[in-house]
Subunit: 506 residues, 2 copies
């Protein structure tokens, strides 16, 4: 721990920063962060009585889930898992960390965002950055050549968090992947169908799924005159088109990446194109593109894809978009990304505005081979649903609707209006538990009936089983409906049955 | 990466180590580990064609879960979560890492087993060691003074793994805790009831739940003449009694910890005692122990506890055992631990043999106060089910019984005996998905009927929906029962209904 003088110095310095930031009208986020740092330093100074104080927070870019958020999360996961199971997927799990070298060379420029563990002796480890690379490692390690699996787990990225937008450093991915050598584009089409089903069922509003193909991008770069060794760099610049204007992207290509302006302009013409089956047909007529082997393969497969999507009746939401690039190094074929859109109410033009990506994926035929001692390839295609943004939207919806979300499933509270009945309450509660009834009892010797009823109101417990001397003598229980306040005497023998009858079956 | 010469040097050195270990007749484990290191170094050298090779493994002490293991895991979690919900618990989640200082000073001697993250700029972070300290941090941070919550998540300990016994470095904990100021021992008794219900439902064989109290231990140490500053050290030595003999434990007390032999002998008399309500009564008559304030409180509460356990009808499995200590620093009152036992078949004495701890917990009234700026206390009691050992046992059982575990829930495979019907198969499959039916289709243009039926046999899919030219013309589907090989023509309009009717409702 730093000493007091040092910390006070730091606080002064931090205070300066805050003032300067305010003067410079810096973004609100920056100020908030600097103020947080200031408060942390203050906390480290401790209270006046010398007691060391803890900084009470979760690490930057992470959060706790409270019971209400967990209830929403459970609902979302159930929807997603049901969809994955409907498509016949099994599930696996892998450790939260991998050998550092397992992740090396898989993520291109993003590798700097990987969390490493401290070297405490033994192996060098890193937290997983996604679920795709661990999946490929799993396939190679166990010599599995075909599987359809889902995996729902947290991944870790030392990115700049923007938590109000649902961008965290610890976040869930829900992955669905199909590994195996199959006829072209059938599993690829199923992945897109899966995304379509999930986004429809979650009722988040309208969405579109953009598709493109790495081979079409590569062919396009080639015919536009991009040198081979610049493909990946230019690709990751194109990937910024969803957030930046064409002018900005062109400037980066020409200025930073050293591309000839004419080449950039030719790319600019292609990346403006979007459509469906027809666009693929049209580009197959493009005299230059159709001469490129990669582009030809990609465009031919794109036609297959749209034919299958037609059979799945989902082409109204899918757009073949030549500007879609996706940054990760390991994609080799089709790529896709789902975005939520909102009708632009401000303008009468009804232009659609993207409010962010919620799922993405593609084909990665080379990744498993990178792990296999003999370089044996296993073709894979998959999709990852990024549900943090989904949680944010559903949380806001729940708050706006003022709908009461129950965080427990308790069916009945065992209560009493009289004193000295703790043991009788515990005995009855235990009987209910043993009969599979979800039951609670207050942990007080002599709670007031009012506070017992209040507990039901607050937590949504629908029934109260009330006992008193009289009820015990008669072998009955007074069963009260919290909402209607109706009470009936029920024989102790039939109590379980009566509670089950009155509980809404979920 | 080290260069070839360096690595070859290391391999030679490692080879030396292996030889020496063998000579010294070192434990098998050590040899296995050294050989693994050797193989890793060899792998780093790469193949002869110069291709860099990966070490294909998960980090030490961790494992993947394959689909069969996941099916068992899902079943165990469902049992445990149902029990937690039956007792009215909500759930929360916290990040996998915490600020390093959040974990500091909570685990006593075990702190050395905490995984730290590398300092990559920003906060210093550690992986969570249990779910209890993050829970206490959560309560203090959100000023929550009462809650009943469960939390199921992975925790991390750099311990010596013994994976065949289910001891891993990454493992699940299933925690159930009750926070709040209540009348004595009521929530404590409920925690023990929860453990009893879970172990009964999991059908792992017979078990016992040992209980003791930190205050009784402290009182016992005091009357035995243990100096105050040695309480924690002696306590963690007593904790070893389940694995070591009394002689070994006494040697550590006297030799390592510097306790007077007479004091050790007096402890030895107490820790041999076990019983129930009666033992608590008897010890309350002990002229020395009953004079000690802490012991008196602990013994009085122990009587309360057994009274409640009597009402819950579970005293036959609960033992008041003065040798139970539990290592963690934060316990302040009752402590308990559940062990699986097997009747000793070898000896006719029918002595019970413990095969390991599967759950443990206790009361920790001071932990939340350590996080609260004003030291405001929130009394807590909880239990943690350590299910890795449970998984191991159930996996072995499943293997022994040769019972086929399904890893998917697919109800029907859409198939064809004829060529050129891929599009019709996809169309029908999509219709079934949209109707909520779990359906699969092979990703081949023209798969053989036999290989389609084989897929059903292998994965346990009970139904096949077969289409051909004839069926398409007539608007029917041939629905085949895989087990009985019966086939019936079903109108396409009623297909969904027919599949639902024939599917076993789960």
């Amino acid at each position: 721990m730093a000493d007091k003088a040092q910390l006070q110095e730091s606080i002064k310095a931090q205070g300066e920063v805050v003032r300067k930031l305010k003067e410079a009208k810096a973004s609100k986020d920056q100020i908030v962060e600097e103020v947080a740092k200031l408060l942390e330093l203050k906390a480290q100074l401790g209270t006046d009585d010398g007691k060391q104080m803890f900084v009470l927070k979760t690490p930057k870019g992470t959060r706790d889930y409270n019971p209400k958020q967990m209830a929403i999360r459970e609902r979302v996961f159930n929807t997603i898992i049901s969809c994955f199971k409907r498509h016949g997927a099994e599930t696996i799990d892998t450790p939260v960390f991998e050998l550092k070298e397992t992740l090396t060379g898989k993520y291109g420029e993003d590798s700097k965002l990987i969390y490493d563990l401290k070297d405490q002796g033994g192996e060098l480890l890193s937290l997983r950055y996604d679920l795709t690379v661990p999946f490929a490692r799993y396939l190679a390690m166990n010599k599995i050549s075909n599987i359809k699996r889902y995996h729902i787990a947290k991944v870790y990225r030392r990115d700049n968090p923007a938590m109000t937008k649902g961008r965290y450093r610890e976040f869930y991915q829900c992955d669905f992947d199909i590994a195996g050598q199959y006829d072209p584009m059938i599993p690829d089409a199923e992945c897109i169908k899966v995304v379509h089903e999930i986004l429809t069922e979650l009722q988040l509003g309208d969405f579109r799924i953009k598709v493109n193909d790495r081979r079409i991008l590569d062919g396009m770069f080639a015919v536009c005159g991009v040198p081979d060794d610049k493909f990946r760099a230019i690709c990751s610049t194109v990937d910024k088109l969803d957030k930046a204007s064409w002018e900005e992207v062109k400037n980066e290509m020409v200025g930073e990446k050293g591309l000839a302006p004419e080449a950039a302009d030719r790319i600019g013409e292609y990346v403006r194109m979007h459509g469906g089956f027809d666009l693929a047909e049209k580009l197959l007529q493009d005299p230059q593109l159709s001469q490129n082997k990669h582009a030809l393969e990609g465009l031919t497969d794109m036609k297959h894809l749209f034919k299958y999507l037609e059979l799945f009746k989902i082409t109204d939401k899918v757009i073949f978009d030549l500007s879609l690039a996706r940054g990760l190094d390991y994609y080799t074929g089709v790529i896709y990304e789902a975005v939520l859109i909102q009708p632009q109410n401000v303008h009468p033009s009804e232009e659609l505005v993207s409010v962010g990506s919620v799922a993405g994926g593609g084909r990665y035929d080379g990744l498993v081979g990178m792990f296999d001692p003999k370089g044996r390839k296993v073709p894979c295609v998959g999709v990852s649903v990024g549900i943090e943004r989904v949680f944010s939207i559903l949380e806001q919806k729940a708050e706006a609707s003022e709908e009461k979300i129950r965080t427990t499933e308790t069916q009945v509270l065992v209560a009493s209006a009289q004193k000295n009945l703790l043991e009788e309450r515990l005995k009855l509660t235990s009987e209910l538990w043993d009969a599979g009834i979800k039951a609670e009892v207050l942990y007080k010797k002599n709670p007031k009936l009012l506070s017992q009823l209040q507990h039901c109101e607050e937590t949504g417990i629908p029934l109260v089983a009330i006992i008193g001397e009289q009820e015990l003598k008669e072998g009955v229980v007074k069963l009260r409906n919290v909402a209607t306040r109706e009470e009936v005497d029920v024989s102790r023998v039939t109590l379980v049955e009566e509670i089950k009858k009155r509980s809404i079956q979920s």
